[in-house]
Amino acid sequence: MTLTGMKKHVGVLEQAGLVTTEKVGRVRTCRLGLRRLEEEVMWIESYRQLWDARFDELDEVVEELKRKERVDGRRKK
């Protein structure tokens, strides 16, 4: 791999948040950055929280429907 090709690759990775680089003198050090992966994990967790909140309210609606069914059932008897 040429130095130019290498610079290009590192640039792409840096833009994607997958690596961070630091230049000290003539040496540029790369580190793995997990920003994008963390973003996906965080997004899934926020999606889970949305559904959890929805289901909590759904619980209340179905409890009410169950109570209503029991009352209606008793009336019919």
Partner: protein, 171 residues
């Protein structure tokens, strides 16, 4: 401690799980403490549906909710969020309606990139196992919807190449 207090305050609460099943699929599941016919009713009657679909804690206001739950029927939900200047509309049509066990609908607000959602209500004693399955037309559509990066694969391929190149140079 806290967990104990929470479970006391809400002893009926079940766990919600979300799983990315594949590049194009997202699955949400949860047990609901009611038989499928009741859960199906809460999902298909607009006056019930709008009471839970928009959680109070998310700051959204539901402006309108129309559900024409039959095969080919359309639904349309309009929300307002304090951060968005314009109301947001979500709409699509029902592809399958099988009371009380299955609903399939399209999500057309994102044009051709919308997912097809399948919800199944499986009887578990006097409870229901609810599974909601979203199938996106492509990995990119799911990623765009989730706000994560497009072209992750491309980036990882480039990372592989880079690492292969580096180790070749060292040896």
């Amino acid at each position: 401690m806290d967990a104990g207090r929470n479970s006391q305050a809400n002893p009926m609460k079940n766990r919600t799980s979300v799983e990315r099943k594949s590049e194009r699929e997202l699955v949400v599941s949860r047990i609901i403490n009611a038989p499928p016919r009741i859960v199906f009713e809460a999902w298909t009657k607009a006056e019930l549906f709008q009471r839970w679909w928009v959680p109070k804690s998310f700051g959204l206001t539901l402006l309108s909710c129309e559900l024409d739950v039959r095969v080919g029927g359309v639904y349309r939900l309009v929300f307002r969020h304090p951060d968005a200047p314009e109301p947001m509309a979500f709409h699509g049509r029902y592809l399958e309606v099988v009371p009380p066990s299955r609903l399939v609908w399209t999500n057309e607000e994102a044009g051709d990139n919308g997912q097809v959602t399948t919800v199944t209500f499986e009887e578990r004693g006097d409870r229901t196992l609810l599974v909601m399955h979203d199938l996106y037309p492509s990995k990119e559509a799911l990623d765009a919807g989730s706000g994560s990066t497009d072209g992750m694969d491309e980036t990882f391929n480039q990372l592989d190449e880079l690492l292969a190149g580096l180790s070749a140079e060292r040896s």
